[in-house]
Amino acid sequence: MDKGHPDYSAEYWAIRLESAPLPEAEQIALEAWLAEDERREGALLRAQATLSYLDRGRALSHGVPAAANSNTRRDFVRYAAGGVAASLAVALGLLLPRDRQIVTQIGEVRQVPLADGSTATVNTASKVGVHFEKAERIVRLSEGEAWFRVAHDKSRPFIVEAGDVRVRAVGTAFSVRRRNSSADVLVTEGIVETWIVGKEAQAVRIAAGSKAFVSRDAGEIATTPASQEIDRSLAWRTGELALDGETLAFAVEEINRYNAKKLVIDTPDLGREPLVGYFRTNEPANFGHAVTSLVGAQMIDDGNAIHLTRPIKDLKKSNL
């Protein structure tokens, strides 16, 4: 073996192969290394696959955990840090306006401290009006979606208005996504109360780890446990879309919320392909690339939109 080279190992090659295409000399060294022992082929696959496995750790690793389980020290530290941030926000709150409009552009996700120490994380293409009064804190979601971490204040309930849908919290964390006349409510901490204007008597409480679809037309408000889904549903806060078997059509609709340049599925059955993984919401072309390899699609960018189709050879094949 030649001298001066690093300590070759499966792990070394896995890391090397990841950063860039290998220069020719190294490619030869790799092949020689592999040829020396047939089992190295398996070891290299294992090391590379593990790196790929670790990449699944994106998104949630620095997201806010759901209220349920895990009392690890790490979480504790993060909550404690959150506490400091909250009290800092209260101090800053004195300087923040009590009435304000928060408008996000397509693709923009903003975390905004509010005057009472609460924070609003506002998703793409959304409009949020903040009106804080003595007796209550009113937030109007006229478009889009936002996640709120509400500062505790028993004397002033925090109420989100999304059309006719109302969501009330005292000190808790939850998200509201407006869909025309209805809304999705996801609760990550504490309990919120939700109702439709005029149907106050039918208000429903939603606890941490549950969600509800609230609509005037739907009759009774049904809450569903969704603790495992909630973290994924809120991955947008860190700019990601988390999929666990949802269809390509669903994913495209979600990604399109964040980008002016839209993804279009040209072959309808392609839209039914299930996907698993984490994708950046603001990189439609990268998402398209991933799809081409995950479900065997073809991507064509015509300048206005990114088209996803079944490759022609597959169509031919199915005609055989």
Binding site: T50, S70, R205, G209, Q228, V276, S293
Partner: protein
């Protein structure tokens, strides 16, 4: 069918598939092998050989259940070994048969939720020594390129690479024993029960 079989997947697709369907079950496989009184050295050999066999596949598209494929592959490696050594330990074969059968179909309810899997990945990374951990977090979680990490930390790319290799070695070691939480299936069910209070 024939046409299908001839389509080969790119290596990166296979790597990604092995990362999500094989690697997460390695600890469980080792546990199962150890449970049959196979020595640690032998367990290492069997797992390594199973990876070699998987590495030689042209495509993994035909594999419907990664976990049972991994177990079956390990089983056939083990049987080969026994044949070669010509000593058949009594009970071994029937035991593996029974174990493989019961593991044949993990079923949807035993599939790990994305959340659990992410927790596990997070724990693996959090368990690294500080330098490695920082680099792994930047690379795997924030998705920064190596060059950018080197710049931010004010070190050479070589240093980043060395730490990454060290971290990966430690994680591979941890994956041998650190179970993926399959056994938590029961616990999970009770955790997701909620009481919905109604008002009015």
């Amino acid at each position: 069918m024939d046409l299908e079989a001839r389509i080969t997947q790119s290596r990166s697709e296979i790597v990604a598939w092995v990362g999500s369907h094989i690697v997460p079950h390695e600890a469980r496989l080792r546990l199962w092998l150890r449970g049959m009184a196979i020595s640690e050295d032998e367990v290492n050999d069997i797992v390594q050989d199973a990876y070699v066999l998987i590495a030689r596949l042209d495509s993994v598209a035909h594999i419907r259940n990664g976990k049972s494929y991994f177990f079956q592959t390990a089983k056939s490696v083990f049987i080969q070994k026994i044949r070669r050594s010509r000593i058949v330990p009594i009970g071994h074969l029937t035991e593996i048969d029974a174990a493989v059968l019961s593991d044949d179909d993990p079923g949807p309810e035993r599939r790990l939720s994305a959340r659990q899997e992410l927790d596990r990945v997070r724990r693996l990374i959090a368990g690294l020594p500080e330098k490695c951990r920082i680099i792994f977090e930047m690379r795997r979680i924030q998705g920064l390129p190596q060059k950018e990490i080197a710049k931010r930390l004010g070190v050479s790319e070589n240093v980043v690479e060395m730490q990454a290799v060290r971290g990966l070695k430690l994680i591979l070691k941890a994956l041998e024993t650190n179970d993926n939480g399959d056994g938590d299936a029961r616990k999970r069910k009770t955790e997701t029960r909620f009481e919905v209070e109604k008002n009015g």
